[in-house]
Amino acid sequence: MVQVEGVSYSYRNGLKVVKALVDIDFKLKKGDTCAIIGPSGCGKTTLLYLMAGLLKPEKGRVLIEGKVLSGPRDGTAVILQDYGLLPWKTVLANAALGLEIRGVAWRQREEIVRPLLAKLGLQGMEDRYPSQLSGGQKQRVAIARALALRQDLLLMDEPFSALDALTREELQDTLVKIQAEQQLTIIMVTHNIEEAVYLGKQIVVMGGMPGRVRAILPNPGAGRLGYRSRQEFHHYCSRVRGALGQIDYEAG
């Protein structure tokens, strides 16, 4: 489904050219989940933007369903760090934004979005504005907006990092359920080890400046409710922590 082949990227900082990513390679099957984890500044958000088609690689290429990516793709939903909700639109209009941009009529938009919002526990909040919502509720609206387009690939940047622990686990469970129901392919960027292990069947460990892939760990138990309390879960958390620790050691 997703192939990242030898991707490098640099950005300009004034007159300086700063290398952000070097030779990134990994693959993901359809319906799988992948967590990209690494310390801040390792370029993982840049990598997500590249897979979203919001940036173009300087070297290498990103293929989605066998096609080279050259811009935002119709079937890809993206949820960026601060949810990207428009403050001037109500919950309903925000969730329906993708449909509106695609020219779907208002009635149809409501028919698609209302049940989705209800499913995500936002019933009765359709007419509120984002400033009237809690962080978790905003994240749910962003998920509803992504799901409304029935896309097959969901990219998320630190989706739950701004939330308190309880809300975070609740939303992680919501995401697991949705993923299982819709066979979504999900790639998320995170710096939280437990989140990566709970949600990513494949964990890409990144590190360094410029960022490189340091390890790719399979994590077959991920994506099941209740995985958090299993022995295996803690085992994988230690492995990821180990892989990340090695990086710190090398960098230090």
């Binding site: 979203a52 919001l54 960026l80 601060d82 949810y83 990207g84 428009l86 001037w88 934004l97 941009i101």
Partner: protein, 250 residues
């Protein structure tokens, strides 16, 4: 009546009361027939020859509104465009900065030579003054839109027109209202000036004419009319903002 509207009327009521009080105190302190207190002035205002005063007020209102609308219609699209296109900004930004501080009022004689002493020159002068105020404010508002918001909406498949419609215009709307309010004040002052210099219509002429004939009551009736004109236009802007930016009033 919604709470927003209730507060709206209450606040305007308090403001009028406050200004009247301040005026009375100043009139007592000045003790000069050139500055009568609010009560004689309001009496004069009510007793003034309404068709005449109304005619001048309407002409002034027309000039202010026409120039405000013309400036908004040109400066807002240009400001949004410059604000979102750094290459254009580096080209036109300095031009705007060069022209902005030129005292446009000093250009009034030039404008009158070019456009005559009719409506054209008055509207043109106000336009020149407020165009840059709106342009610079709108550009700055467009510049500081969070990049994440634009990327999010782009990732939903928005092209540049949709980005303007869904993100850039609504994000700048509150600042455009602020610019309009500031410009409205400037517009009324410049209008007053241009009406006192040439022509025989508008509140500027009416007030100056009252002064020259030493009819201070007429003069103050004109001053009251011009402040009511300003008040009504500001209130209209507030109402329009509540209507167009409902997310800011929750």
């Amino acid at each position: 009546m919604r709470l927003v509207e209730q507060n709206f009327y209450k606040n305007y009521g308090k403001a009028v009361l406050f200004v009247l009080l301040l005026w009375q105190v100043l009139a007592w302190l000045a003790a000069n027939p050139g500055l009568p207190g609010p009560i004689p002035a309001i009496k004069e205002f009510i007793g003034s020859w309404w068709p005449e005063l109304a005619r001048h007020t309407l002409i002034s209102a027309y000039r202010v509104l026409l120039s405000l609308l013309l400036s908004l219609a040109t400066a807002v699209p240009l400001g949004l465009w410059i604000g979102r296109c750094s290459r254009l900004d580096s080209l036109l930004g300095p031009v705007a900065y060069l022209l902005y501080p030129v005292p446009k009022v000093a250009l009034l004689p030039v404008i009158m030579l070019l456009l005559g002493i009719g409506e054209g020159s008055k509207v043109a002068l106000i336009f020149l003054v407020i165009f840059f105020q709106i342009l610079v404010t709108t550009r700055d508002a467009a510049r500081k839109i969070p990049e994440q918001l634009l990327l999010s909406v782009r990732s939903l498949g928005a092209g540049s027109w949709e980005l303007y419609r869904q993100v850039i215009i609504p994000a700048c709307l509150p600042e455009i209202f602020t610019a309009s309010r500031i410009s409205l004040g400037s517009a009324i002052s410049v209008l007053f000036l241009s009406e006192t210099v040439a022509g025989r219509s508008g509140l500027g002429y009416y007030i100056l004419d009252g002064m020259l004939r030493a009819e201070y009551g007429v003069m103050f009736a004109g001053i009251l009319a011009i402040s009511f004109l300003g008040l009504i236009l500001y209130a209209l802007l507030d109402i329009l903002e509540i209507f167009l930016c409902p997310w800011r009033y929750i």
